[in-house]
């Protein structure tokens, strides 16, 4: 019995990690380039950040529910959950990338332009390195949040540690709930610490 439970915890943990990693990777691929475009367009920026803010306020269980009946992106299973997790992860990454790049000292940017750097060179050699700690902080916040939110993905059949939690709730079994909650919490703490370490190491200044 114990061995069976141990094996199940391991496989659900791996599934959980998979959900989170895919969601964060896709969110970063959308949010970071998106933010780079938005740094050059103030009007569009207000609109997009507003939209991302609104998405963030939708309760996660409701968002999973909304996505279910949609064609192509909806339905029972992993991909629906990943899309929902992505939508949540985009905002912190987008916002932190914007803050990091727009926060580059005006005198630094003016010098870069006046010394004859091209916009590409300014982005790659000045703005991105200086914004990196802020971008990484965004990824860290998004990852920690997503690890928590991903437990709800079990409600639409995406698997992960939420499976234990929902089963535990249904069968009024606290041990079962903890079997899902404790690994998820540990995972969140480890991700937070690990990503913070990377943030410090990679910080350009």
């Amino acid at each position: 019995m114990n061995q069976r439970l141990g094996g199940e915890i391991l496989s659900l943990t791996l599934e959980h990690i998979e959900l989170v990693l895919v969601a964060i990777a896709v969110a970063a691929l959308v949010a970071i380039p998106g933010a780079l475009v938005l740094t050059r367009r103030a009007g569009l920026r207000r609109g997009m950040v507003g939209f991302a803010n609104v998405v963030q306020t939708v309760p996660s269980l409701a968002l999973f529910g909304f996505l279910l009946p949609l064609p192509f992106i909806g339905g029972i299973g992993k991909h629906t959950a990943i899309i929902a997790l992505c939508l949540y992860a985009i905002l912190p990454i987008l916002r932190n990338t914007l803050v990091g790049i727009l926060g580059v000292d005006a005198a630094v940017r003016e010098s870069a332009v006046a010394m004859g750097m091209t916009p590409q060179q300014i982005l790659r050699q000045v703005e991105l390195p200086l914004a990196l700690p802020s971008i990484l902080a965004g990824v860290r916040i998004a990852t920690v949040t997503t690890i928590g939110t991903a437990t709800i993905a079990a409600a639409i059949g995406a698997g992960g540690l939420g499976v234990f939690i929902f089963e535990g709730i249904a069968s009024v079994n606290s041990a079962m709930i903890l079997a899902g909650a404790i690994p998820a919490a540990l995972m969140a703490v480890l991700a937070d610490e690990g990503l913070e370490w990377i943030e410090r190491r990679w910080s350009a200044v």
Binding site: A107, E110, A114, M115, V126
Partner: protein, 253 residues
């Protein structure tokens, strides 16, 4: 081929408008090699705007600016900027680059070989009074304000540009450091034969460094004079600046 070819910089009938407001009116100005032309004026008189029109950080609304006899609109923008040294008040060094990397920025952009860049940077740091053995590997956060500005000047000189633009480069420094840097700039100016366009609101600095003072008032040229002639106070605005000089002295006691 061009009668103005001896001037490094020639500004012809320049006017600039920001929003609905004219910031500069019909400016005519030339700067020759070895000359330090100081743009003197109160805050908001348009002196910084004029400077930024030269390297096209701002695109002038009307008129023409010739750099080395060629309109700045015809130059390859990035090439031209690399050929015009630029020094601003806060230095604007890249915080994530070492002193040596900061000073060697323009040669790097111009794709010099690494040993050539290193040689040039060492030479320049020596010139601006920062021994490379001690300073080359430091980061800007490890420098004082005066040292940062020395790096800023080294960076501006790195590719040996014929023209320097300086926007109140010493305004944020303490008086002693400022005086040191002013003296050093004076020596550099006379030995290197650069054309310099130097913005300041400090009449003392203008009198000390200028070969010619161009006094701006409300976006137009009020007076052009050598420092010696400026002391005659030919216009109200010139007298206002000279009065501030005298009151500064008596007020100090």
């Amino acid at each position: 081929m061009n009668p103005a070819a001896t001037a490094v910089l020639e500004i012809r009938n320049l006017s600039h408008r920001i929003g609905g407001r004219w910031i500069l009116h019909n400016i005519d100005l030339t700067v020759a090699p070895g000359e330090t032309v100081v743009l003197l004026g109160r805050s908001g008189c348009g002196k910084t705007t004029l400077l930024k029109c030269v390297n096209r950080l701002l695109t002038p609304t009307q008129g023409e600016i010739l750099f080395q006899g060629r309109s700045t609109a015809e130059w390859d923008l990035f090439r031209m900027r690399r050929w015009i040294g630029y020094v601003i008040q806060d230095a604007g060094l890249f915080p994530h680059w070492t002193v040596a990397a900061n000073a060697g920025l323009v040669p790097l952009l111009e794709r010099w070989e690494a040993p050539a860049i290193e040689k040039r940077v060492n030479e320049l740091l020596e010139t601006v009074g920062l021994p490379p053995s001690e300073f080359a590997a430091r980061y800007p956060r490890e420098l004082s304000g005066g040292q940062k500005q020395r790096v800023g000047i080294a960076r501006a000189l790195a590719a040996d540009p014929p023209l320097l633009l300086l926007d109140e480069p010493f305004a944020a420094l303490d008086p002693i450091t400022r005086f040191e840097l002013q003296k050093q700039f004076q020596t550099l100016g006379s030995t290197m034969q650069k054309a310099s366009l130097f913005v300041t609101h400090d009449i003392r600095e203008a009198l000390m460094l200028a070969t010619r003072i161009v006094l701006l008032k409300g976006g137009a040229i009020d007076l052009v004079a050598t420092p010696a002639n400026f002391l005659a106070g030919a216009t109200d605005e010139a007298r206002a600046f000279l009065a501030s000089l005298e009151e500064g002295w008596s007020g100090g006691g």
